[in-house]
Structures are given as C-alpha cells and as structure tokens.
C-alpha cells in the first residue's frame, strides 16, 4: 500500500452514494453557460442573442492557448448573454439558452470514428475542439496538459481516480460504470504524450474499482485512503517517489496526471466528436432529500438539480459546489453547474464557531501535506506582511484545507491564504 506523503488528514469518508448508479437528469428548461469555466482566458462568444443553437454547437471559442471552448448543452435559443452568478469566480458573462425540448445534436454522435489512424496532432485537436478540461475540479484545459514543451520528456501518465474528497462518489461511479472508456481514453493520452508507463491511481476505499481495473490488465496503484491523496503533487510523490519542485509542474519530473472523468470525456470527444456538455456529479448532504450521482448538463442551475433530487429538506443553510474540504459555498442556488463541478452538497444549519486565538498546538504543521507552517503564514497575512508570507511558502499552499480542518481554534486558515495570495497577485500587477 502506498501512502507516501507527509501530513494529511482522515476526515470521515461519508461516501453514502457509492452504490447509487449514475442517474441521467432530464434536460433542463434553461441553462446558464459561463464563457469562463476553466483556468485561463474566458472563451470568446460566437453566438448572439436570438441565435438558434443545437446540442454541441460551439458558443465560445478558446481565446489563446490556455483557454477552452464552450458548447451549448441543450438545443434551443440564446435568450441573452449577460453577467450571471458563477460558482467559482462570483459572477461572469454567461450565455443563457432556453430549450425547445428537442434532442437535436449539431453532429451525429452515434457515428463512431476509428481512432487508431489519427495522428497525435489530430487527437489533440479533437480534445481542444471539444472543450475538454480537467474534471477533477481545477478545470485546467486538457490539451495544454497534453502538450508539454519538447524539452520535457514525459515517461509516466497517472490517471487519478483517488477521489480523496469525502462525500463525493462521482469518479468512483464513473470508474465502475465506464471503466473501459476510461482506459481507452487513458491510452489515447498515453499515445499523445509518448509516455512509457500508464498507472491508474485509486484509493483503497474503492476496492471494487481497483479490481475492475486490474481485471482489465492495467497497472493500478492502490493508495492509502488519506486526504489529500488525490492532489497532483502528493499523488506523484506517493506513486513515483518524485517530488515536483517548488513552483514547478508535474512535467518537471516527467509526469502528467489526468482525472478519470477527463479520460472519459476526451474519449467521447475523439470517438464521437462529442464536446463536453455534461458531467457526473454527486448530490449529497443532509439538506437534500435524495442523495445520488447524477449526469448533469453543463449550465444547469443548481436549484434544478436539487429539484431533480427531491428538493431541500427544511431550509438549507449552506450549499457547497465541490467537496467538503475544498468546495465553494454559494450565496444563492441559481448558479450553474460548470465543467469543474464535482458535487453539490447541502449542509443543514450549523452553529458557527468563533475564531479563537492560535494556541500553537502545531496540528496545522503536522497535517500540512506541503510542509508549510500554516499558523506562521497566517500571522504574516493578518499583519499584511506578504513578503514574509511568501518566504514561508504561501504560494506553495494548495488550499487543501487540512490545516483549517484540524485547527482547534477554528481559525479559517484557507480563507487567510486565499486572501494573501490574491493580495500578492494584485500587488505584483501594479
């Protein structure tokens, strides 16, 4: 068993939906598709108010290399392009499409293409055209990750099926129900990268998925269940014993990591030309009536997904997009599901605990998977001493939340780190 990184925490797994098969949510009446759903520049709109679109119509073109295209996820009419609530960046330009209840695709998605004859460039092009981004949460454009500079030799491709966030089971279900597609997609990635080794990484709380992959004759690394096992750098360290240098990327140690969902989506794009218009996510928490894994069209408002899951139980206090450790709490439930949304969690009312003074218990130091001293960095940020915060590694922080999870004084450390990082970037611009 590989665990292989220092720090980390063991929150209760609460993966109650791991046996619920993925349900397909009916096509929503209206979708709100933001032009920015990925790391990098927002896509440039290709449609205007009043245009008719079909499923898969490209409505936004990738702007530059680090960007991704966006596509209509339902068939209907563009009723407006305005700023709308966005689950990650607060508010962003959105294309609102009203559906016409038909399942018209812009292309024939049943025609299977032969993928073996395609060159690497053609494969990459298909992935880029389909607007594929990392579905693990960070939503980094996949074609960028698949095109490392010439001088970076990639020897290992890791397919990340850890799903170390508690509660979430979407990746787990996807692995169980679509293992073959994921493996085929991973082989395409391997071909593009010329990587000699392909490893599937799964935490050992998903024994059935591990066995399923082993039966398919692929190499599986069974990893100890420990949060954040699925974080890129920690994962590489655990499997390959290689440490990505500070400020570096996995390719600096000859490695690329892709999420299982991304492999699935990429293969659908290559084989059928199907762009990224839907994704699997977990709906859970005590505040929602039915907990399940759902295949949802991109742009579906969260409240429509909740309605599909039987609605709220009582009055919800907290709605989180993502997992409990890194997800983002929303102020309203009309935000749309975006490409990076891995879960919708509805938490019941919970008594807020007041931030106490740091008692230097060092639980944050012991739990930090990046080897940082969170309480020291936090003091520097509080005193607006951003230079020292940087020296102590603020920019190395991956915001996994282990420190704040452990803190006995309930100090919202991640909040201070996000603030500190944004201040450093703001100051570096001026």
């Amino acid at each position: 068993m590989l665990s292989g990184f220092t720090g980390g925490v063991h929150p209760p797994e609460s993966k109650n939906t791991e046996d619920s098969t993925i349900e397909v949510m009916p096509v929503p009446k209206k979708v709100y598709i933001p032009f920015s759903q990925h790391t990098g520049k927002p896509a440039t709109p290709l449609v205007k108010k009043g245009d008719d679109v079909k499923i898969g119509t490209k409505i936004g073109e990738a702007d530059g290399f680090i960007s991704a295209s966006v596509h209509a996820s339902i068939s209907g009419k563009v009723i407006d392009i305005i700023d709308h609530a966005h689950p990650v960046i607060g508010s962003a330009s959105c294309c609102i499409i009203e559906g016409n209840d038909s399942e018209d695709w812009v292309i024939d998605v049943n025609a299977e293409r032969n993928t073996d004859d395609l060159t690497e460039a053609q494969l990459l092009h298909s992935i880029k055209e389909a607007g594929i981004v990392g579905l693990g949460g960070a939503a980094f454009p996949s074609h960028v990750k698949l095109s490392p500079p010439k001088d970076k030799k990639i020897d290992t491709l890791i397919i990340n099926g850890c799903e170390c966030e508690p509660v979430l089971t979407a990746d787990h279900r996807l692995m169980l129900e679509h293992a073959a597609t994921i493996i085929e997609g991973a082989r395409v990635f391997q071909k593009i990268l010329h990587a000699s080794t392909l490893i599937f990484a799964v935490e050992d709380n998903k024994k059935n998925a591990i066995e399923l992959f082993r039966d398919e004759d692929v190499r599986v690394a069974a990893l100890k269940t420990k949060y954040p096992q699925g974080a890129e750098k920690q994962l590489i360290k655990a499997i390959l014993k290689r440490e990505v240098p500070r400020g570096g990327l996995p390719m600096d140690v000859g490695c690329v990591v892709h999420n299982v969902g991304t492999c699935h989506a990429a293969l659908m794009a290559i084989k059928y030309g199907k762009p990224l218009i839907d994704r699997v996510l977990t709906v859970a928490g005590d505040g929602v009536r039915e907990k399940k894994n759902v295949l949802v069209r991109i742009g579906t408002p969260v409240n429509s997904v909740i309605d599909f899951c039987g609605g709220y139980v009582d009055k919800p206090e907290r709605v989180i997009l993502g997992g409990p450790m890194m997800g983002i709490a929303q102020y309203a439930d009309d935000v749309p599901v975006v490409k990076g949304t891995s879960g919708i969690l509805v938490w019941p009312a919970e008594k807020a605990i007041e931030e106490g003074p740091c008692v230097r218990c060092a639980a944050c130091v012991d739990s930090c998977p990046m080897g940082l001293m969170p309480t020291e960095i936090c003091s520097f940020v509080k005193n607006k001493n951003f230079d020292m915060a940087k020296t102590y590694g603020l920019l190395d922080c991956i915001e996994c939340g282990c420190c704040a999870y452990m803190c006995p004084a309930a100090i919202p450390l991640v909040h201070y780190f996000k603030y500190g990082k944004s201040e450093i970037w703001r100051r570096s611009k001026t």
Binding site: F5, V9, P11, P12, P166, K233, K237, E243, V244, P245, R246, G247, G248, E317, R318, V319, P324, M325, M326, G327, I328, A329, Q330, Y331, A332, D333, L345, W347, A352, I353, G356, P357, V359, R360, C361, A362, V365, D366, C368, P369, M370, G371, L372, M373, T375, E376, Y392, G393, D396, E399, G401, A404, Y405, M406, C407, P408, A410, P412, V414, H415
Partner: protein, 339 residues
C-alpha cells in the same frame, strides 16, 4: 435593491473546508485536566484533604484573576476555555503539600496576571504560566517552597525511615546533611526506593509523587495525540541517557522516577503555547529540557531542575522555530540551491 424575501433566500457563505475535526481548544484543555485527576486523587489519599483545598484555592484564584483582569482590560472573558483551570491545577501540583493556604493564591494570581494575561492571554504567553508562578514563589518564599514537605500515608517522605525533612533528590544532593552518605545513597538506589518512587509512596510536591498515575494520564494524552511524543521522548530519552553517562550517585531509574520529571515531561514541557511548532524543533526542545534538567540536578544549586529547564527552553522556543523551519514540499534538500 433586493427585497427582503430575496435576501432570505441567500445561504451562508464561508471559506473551505466545510467540515472540521472538532478538536476544540477548550475540549483539549479539559482532557488534560482530566488526565491529571488520578494523580490528584492519589495525592489527596497520601496527604489528606488539605491537598484538595490547596488545589481548589489555586484553581479558583487562577480563574478569578483571569476574569478580573480581562474585565479590567475590556477584553472578552475567556475563562470557559479551561486554560486557567489547568494553570491553577498545574501550579498546585508544583507546590509542597504543607504550604500555607495563601501561597497557591499568590502563585496562581502571578501566573495568570503576569505570565499570561499581560502578554495577551492564551496563545501569547511565552513561558508556561504555572511554571512562571512556581518560579516566582521559589524566588519570593524559598523556605516555604522547599521545606513544607509532609509525610505521606503508608510510606515515609524519602522512602527512608527516620528521615522526614527532605525529598529523595535533596538527599541525593547533600547526603551528608542527613546521616551517613554511603548508607543513604545505597538506600536511595535500592529496589524498595525505586518501587516507592514509581507507585508514589514517597514525599514530594503535590502532583509529582506517583509516577504510575502520571504515566497513565500522560500515555492517555499521547494516545489522543493531544501532546506530542517528540517532546516527551526527547526529554526523557536524553535525560536517561545523560543520567547513565554522567557521574552521579543515583541510578537511571532513580533519576527518572524522582522529582517532577514525569510531570514535567508529559504535562508541562508539552504545553502547546510555549513549545515549538516544527517537528525538528520539538525534538530539540525535548532534548534541551533533558540536558538542562540533568545539569541542574548534578551541578546546579537546586536539587531539582525540571521547572527551570522547561522555562529556559520556553524562552528559546521562538528561536528554535525560526531555525528549524519545515522543509517545504519540493524544496531542494541540498544547501545553496535556492529558487
């Protein structure tokens, strides 16, 4: 403008993570207090009800001075976090059983007011308040702090019949003052004395007598990971090693089980606020305590060195933290290679 109905629809936003381990500071303080209770009960059995009275006085004064001072300074009253109770309890543990009633009160008030609250309260004190209180009492009323020993029930003060004016460590320090040095040293190291030290049938401060009960509480805290093993192992390990290597007339077990070493290593050196936060730092801190303790015991002016060793290392804590920063993930191990 949003209507009230619209605002009511909004949810609570907060930074991630949205779950927590629920190890709250106040809970940890209470657990440490509970871990000390067996030793307190045993001490009350040994010396009678006055032990309970002294402890209660110490705790009440600690809590009251915290509340009073916070009120005077216009700060939030934080007595419910349990840290003042723990300080009062630990201070009482560091007093001889026969001290006058007012002594714990003065010590507790000093510990809370001068060592803790004037530096900013919980989390900001740079030395262990209970030990600072004890040091203050030692400096102000040395005779009361070193002579008020009582004979324990079912045993003798030193484990040696006929001598009732000294603790085992003062016997070891100046055996000639109490009789034939060779006889005393032999008696100190015999199995009977070691056993008495371990079970606590022997004289000493209120809380330090029974190694057994302190160990029970200490191991409980280690198991819960409330205290760090590095400090405990570093302290006891380095101390035992030096007690074995250095010239002393006491055996290693005698040194380990006598005085306040076990109390200090498990319950005082491990104080969160005043010990380093880095992993390496906690080793250094523990080893430092061990080295200073044995130096004081063998060559210092006092028979016992636990409290001063911890106080000294408390002062070094910020420096240790700065010099032993954790290695950031991906940082080059080699020297001189900096990004």
């Amino acid at each position: 403008m949003e209507k009230i109905e619209d605002i009511k629809k909004l949810f609570v936003v907060a930074a991630s993570p949205h779950i927590s381990a629920k190890h709250k500071t106040s809970v940890a303080m209470r657990v440490v207090t509970i871990a000390l209770l067996p030793a307190l009960v045993f001490s009350t059995y040994l010396y009678g009800m006055r032990i309970l009275v002294i402890t209660i006085i110490s705790i009440i004064v600690a809590v009251c001075s915290e509340a009073l001072l916070e009120r005077m300074l216009g700060k939030k009253i934080t007595i419910t976090d349990g840290s003042a109770v723990l300080t009062g309890l630990l201070l009482a543990f560091n007093l001889p059983p026969g001290v006058p009633w007012w002594l714990p009160a003065v010590g507790s008030a000093f510990a809370i007011i001068f060592a803790k609250q004037l530096f900013g309260g919980l989390g900001y004190n740079f030395v262990n308040p209970a030990l600072a209180g004890r040091a203050f009492l030692m400096a102000s009323w040395p005779s009361l702090m070193t002579k008020e020993w009582l004979s324990p029930v079912g045993g003798t003060l030193s484990g040696i019949d006929g001598i009732s004016a000294a603790t085992p460590l003062s016997l070891l320090k100046n055996p000639a003052n109490y009789g034939d040095p060779q006889v005393i040293i032999r008696q100190l190291n015999d199995f009977e004395t070691i056993r008495n030290l371990f079970f606590g049938k022997i004289g000493g401060c209120i809380g330090e007598t029974s190694v057994l009960f302190l160990l029970l509480g200490g191991l409980f805290l280690l198991f819960l990971r409330i205290i760090d093993y590095r400090i405990v192992v570093g302290y006891l390990g380095s101390f035992a090693l030096l007690a074995w290597l250095l010239p002393t007339q006491g055996s290693v077990l005698f040194h380990l089980f006598s005085g306040g070493l076990v109390l200090g290593a498990f319950f005082m050196a491990t104080d969160w606020v005043t010990s380093p936060i880095t992993r390496k730092g906690r080793w250094i801190f523990g080893v430092g305590c061990g080295v200073i303790t044995i130096i004081i015991r063998l060559w210092g002016g006092y028979p016992e060195g636990v409290s001063y060793s911890i106080l000294l290392m408390n002062v070094f804590t910020p420096l240790i933290d700065r010099l032993t920063k954790e290695r950031i993930f991906g940082e080059q191990r080699k020297k001189g290679v900096k990004k």
